[in-house]
Amino acid sequence: MLEVRSVTRMFGQKAAVDNASFTVDGPAFVGIIGRSGAGKSTFLRMMNRLIEATSGEILVDGVNVLAYKGAAARAWQSQCAMIFQQFNLVPRMDVASNVLHGILNRRGTLQTMFNLWPKDDILKAIDILERLGIAEQAPKRAEALSGGQQQRVAIARAVMQDPKIILADEPIASLDPMNAQIVMETLKKINVEDGRMVIANLHTLDTARRYCDRVIGMRDGKIVFDGTPEQLSTGVARDIYGADESFNEAATSTSIPTDKSADRTFAAQMLA
């Protein structure tokens, strides 16, 4: 379904993404991990055609989406939804309108200027919001919502696009652990129930292990790991992040801990 063939993006002399190739069959949940500047965002942005690739091909159902130009490229963008770290909603418009922006590719400029949407689409937008549990927020301005709710509005906009693929660029990096869990579970639900492929850039290993069917590790623009979450051992993680023995993933984990042993150890230390 998705085949990435030696995609490269140069910024000046430096390769942000260096000859990346992989294949995904069927609607998997793919996580891309790596430290900041490893080229994860650049790759997703190339796939959504927000930036151009320097060379290479991305084949979706056998067609190279990097070759589309103009209106065809915009039509591809409408089938390949993007979710951003900072939500990227229109802050002063109401939530339902923000969700309706998902179908902008089929709407004309005049209809958009006068904010005219077909009744069926409005009801569909509200149904999607209902599915994500925030229907009662529909008439509020997007900026009035909390971060976790805004990210769910962004996911609703993505679902409204009815896309084949959803790209998520660090979707939970600016959320607290509780909201992060809700957002990840929502993405997983859309992945499983609707059968849409999700490719998410993640920066915590436990999230990648918990939600992904497959994990790709990037370092300095190159793909250095490609496998199942089970294969993602601490040693492999150290390679991906270029870290030494002192690397401890529990220190940066943002999930809510299931046991309190760490706390107990800490308390014992303090009491000693």
């Binding site: 339902a96 949407w117 529909a138």
Partner: protein, 292 residues
């Protein structure tokens, strides 16, 4: 409504139905208001057109062909005497420098006044929040009086010359730029201001370090736009006895003296001046934004 009491499932469905209905109602209401506004707008435009058409001495449509008679005469005469143009240019340069000087000094004074007025009149930044209204009304007052009126009064008091023009333009600039500056400052990010407040900085320090660096590029471009406008205002004030290029223009514009070559030369000089200001402002604004 009785259904709502039967368990959470029934409650859920009703909530969704409510949400759908109320959102659709909101959409309908907004569309209706939009439609009414559009109809009102078209009606006002149409009626305004017919009123002005009636009151006009000649009628707009009949007048259109005559619109170009005067420029055509000016340009044909200037073309006939084109050999004189370079000489005329040099003749008017000293007057142009006077006009630009008046505008520059007035813009500088007005912008300084606008800087303090605007920060005092911005909600969320003001030194004395209760006096925001007072400073706003002051700026309104400065803008409301036409500069030509202030200039005429000052000429009466101080006599002709550049000083009344500078004061008149500076006062108007203070009011006009103060409003624009204050609107820019209103959108400034307050986080740096909070950071500076947390270390115990006083109001002027917070404004100088927390707000001015953020708003400087926009303030500069507004101030330079105002400078262009002031060059033109200073030329107009020449008509009422402030000297400068406006005085020359007034003498040259009088009908039927055969001096239209002077008019063209003066307009060309003004145009070139504005272009130069625009280029210079663009250059320095880019420098300021990119921080090099």
């Amino acid at each position: 409504m009785a259904d709502t009491t039967f368990g959470p499932g029934a409650d859920q469905r009703l909530t969704l139905a409510d949400t759908r209905e109320s959102y659709l109602a909101m959409t309908r209401r907004k569309r209706m208001y939009g439609g009414i506004l559009l109809v009102l707008f078209i009606a006002l435009m149409a009626s305004g057109w017919s009123v002005s058409e009636e009151r006009n001495a000649g009628g707009f449509v009949n007048g259109v062909p005559q619109l170009f008679d005067f420029p055509a005469e000016v340009f044909s005469e200037a073309w006939r005497d084109r050999a004189n143009l370079p000489g005329i240019f040099w003749e008017h340069v000293p007057a142009l420098i006077e006009t630009v000087n008046i505008a520059a000094v007035a813009t500088l004074l007005g912008a300084l006044m606008a800087m303090s007025l605007s920060l005092l009149a911005t909600r969320g930044l003001a030194r004395w929040p209760r006096l925001v209204g007072l400073f706003r009304r002051t700026m309104d007052g400065l803008r409301a009086v036409p500069e030509i009126v202030i200039a005429l009064v000052l000429i009466y008091v101080l006599g002709g010359g550049p000083v009344p023009a500078v004061i008149a333009i500076a006062l108007h600039t203070g009011g006009a730029l103060g409003k624009l500056f204050s609107e820019v400052a209103e959108n400034a990010d307050l986080k740096p201001v909070e950071g500076l407040a947390s270390v115990g900085a006083n109001w002027s320090q917070r404004m100088w370090l927390g707000v001015i660096p953020q708003v400087a590029p926009n303030w500069l471009s507004y101030a330079l736009l105002r400078f262009e406008i002031n060059v033109r205002a200073s030329a107009i004030l020449g008509f009422v006895g402030e000297g400068g290029i406006g005085h020359d223009l007034k003498l040259a514009m009088q009908w039927g003296q055969g001096r239209y070559d002077n008019v063209v030369a003066i307009f060309a000089l003004l145009f070139i001046t504005i272009v130069i200001i625009d280029q210079v402002s663009d250059h320095y604004r880019n420098k300021l934004v990119k921080g090099t």
